[in-house]
Symmetry: C2
Subunit: 360 residues, 2 copies
């Protein structure tokens, strides 16, 4: 019996509420499937911790996490704690220190999910965005000169290394090959005359090793337009840290909203733990009301199952999420229902035990 050890950082706002349902689902899957189990350890880190201790996590926080196979993160952010602290000292720190250089974000319109686009059918929105997650525009390099003077000037430098650029592009090619899908690179070489020229070059170079993979290349502005007008153009997408950030929120918007968007931060070599999160924020305005939508956190749970090699069960959880949306019996207010967060989790668990399990 293999035991998957998971560090839970439920975080702030609605984080704990939605993660609780995700944990419930993972435990149910382990119970039904047999052969593996989860061991969850909770870490009370986040903005409340910060207000008490002056840091988002203890000094040896990363060392503590290192002992786990995966991190399951809710959301961080709290009125009164500046974003550059709550994010830089927790979410971004873990991504970077654990070399989680691959951010996998499915953009898939599930059955029953609300779509804001006219004339778009389900099969037209079915992509996986591979976002570079460790460097690029988010390197944090820069300078602030002549502060307060008329000649004041602020510099922000994107850092694109050969290693960093090559490995994310290679990851995407491998995935495209494995799934038999086309690969689209999103960049902006016509205006970003160093970084994106390099990006395009590496995309082409690595591509020579994958002659079987069909490739396309879009400028980020054109890509944003086509996400809305013709999302069926995209299957596997690979892009930089910042462009991936923007394009996946846009992806979430067209595929049912933030209540349904999950992201995996992977260290593919498994030297460090990988991290799984719903990509929505902590939504302090609706926290503690029991009405937060846990479906994104449950989708993250499905990514955790994939990560541990239980892809069949990952797919089953997605099927159940679809079922819940089609049934419309247990949906939170943001999706037009009246159910509580707990109701949704409970319904997912109930369906998991009863529906015809397809993928095992």
């Amino acid at each position: 019996m293999s035991v998957h050890k998971i560090a839970v950082i439920a975080g702030d706002g609605i984080g704990p509420e939605v993660i609780e349902e995700g944990v419930k689902v993972l435990e149910a899957v382990a119970r039904i499937a047999g052969g593996f189990s989860f061991e969850f350890t909770h870490f009370p880190w986040g903005c409340e911790y910060y207000l008490e201790h002056g840091t988002m996590m203890p000094e040896d926080g990363l060392e503590q996490l290192q002992k786990f196979d995966a991190v399951y993160l809710g959301a961080v952010g709290y009125p009164g704690v500046p974003d550059h602290i709550s994010l830089r000292e927790l979410l971004l720190k873990i991504r970077k220190q654990f070399d989680q250089y691959v951010n996998v974000r499915p953009v898939r319109l599930l059955q029953g999910a609300p779509c804001p686009l006219k004339d778009v059918t389900r099969d037209q929105i079915d992509m996986v965005v591979i976002r570079e997650n460790s460097e690029g525009e988010y390197s944090g390099a820069g300078d602030w000169l002549f502060r307060g003077k008329p000649e004041e000037v602020v510099l922000q430098t994107g850092v694109f290394s050969r290693k960093g650029t090559e490995r994310i592009i290679r990851y995407a090619y491998e995935l495209a090959r494995k799934m038999g899908k086309s690969l689209t690179s999103i960049s902006k070489a016509n205006a970003l005359n160093y970084s994106m020229v390099f990006w395009d070059q590496v995309f082409e170079e690595v591509g020579r090793e994958y002659p079987d993979v069909e490739t396309k290349s879009y400028l980020v502005d054109a890509a944003s337009m086509y996400f809305v007008k013709q999302p069926e153009r995209f299957q596997i997408v690979v892009t930089s840290n910042l462009f991936g950030d923007i394009i996946t929120d846009l992806g979430a918007a067209i595929a049912g909203g933030m209540g349904l968007a999950a992201g995996a931060n992977l260290n593919p070599e498994r030297i460090y733990p990988s991290m799984f999160e719903p990509i929505h924020g902590s939504a302090p305005d609706i926290a503690h009301k029991g009405i937060a939508n846990p479906l994104a956190a449950i989708w993250s749970a499905s990514q955790i199952l994939d990560f541990f090699g239980h892809e069949g069960w990952g797919a089953n959880v997605l099927d159940v999420i679809e079922q819940v949306m089609v049934d419309k019996k247990a949906l939170t207010p943001d999706m037009g229902g009246t159910a509580t967060t707990v109701d949704v989790g409970t319904e997912v668990v109930a369906l998991l035990s009863t529906i015809h399990i397809k993928h095992v």
Copy 2:
């Protein structure tokens, strides 16, 4: 009788075809309105010029343009000429050298325009995006180190000056005040820890001088999402060069497509000529077929009228564009019609002479 002197750079692909209709419309307006006229001088610059002369425009190109009040640009770009040449040496060079630091892009769903969003009514998409147009992410600063070695690293530096940041934000506040609308800043301080922290700071500082203007602030990822889900949140928007590029293509997507998107590159001090352009590309695949949609170029013509103080006529031209889309009698194939480029221009001119002129 005032004479407005306009340099026309029709450019490549469909550029000449659509600009010809814009010129036709401007001449018709001058004829009907009386009191002013246009003088057009054509410059054959662009990619064909490049293939012949090795430069996109002559050495003294900018000096030649300096004698005009405005530049009317079609589109540049041609298969075989790398983008970084066609754009950097013409479009971006003019924007930068003529200090056209304000890029005004209306995002407005006209009556009759196709909208890809469900449940969105016309009044929900009505904004003006003010994009910084002279520096920021597009400064072109960077470095490419250890080329071809494993330690290869490429740097791209965004340069945000006090002067550059303050003047664009001030322009936007002035516009918001004048139009009695809210002002939204789009940035990304939680990840771009120098440039966007500075941007947010300047937005707040300048805002103190405009206590009457309601302000909002969005992260660029969230803003992209809301452009699709709740575009009514935005009225006047101010943002950086790169974010403005992305967000206005997205804006074009929700407001009828690239066939309807125009942009003005302004030097508000009028020390240098300003430049007006449809924001679509040169579309070589449909060039010389007479089927390109000239409505974006005609919308640009309306911006030219505004710029010369003929706002009433600018508004009339927009009314006529709406009328053409509602009538559906003279639309190009991209909008579901069978009309030629020339037909559309002719129809606009015909309507201009006959419809009830509202704004003068």
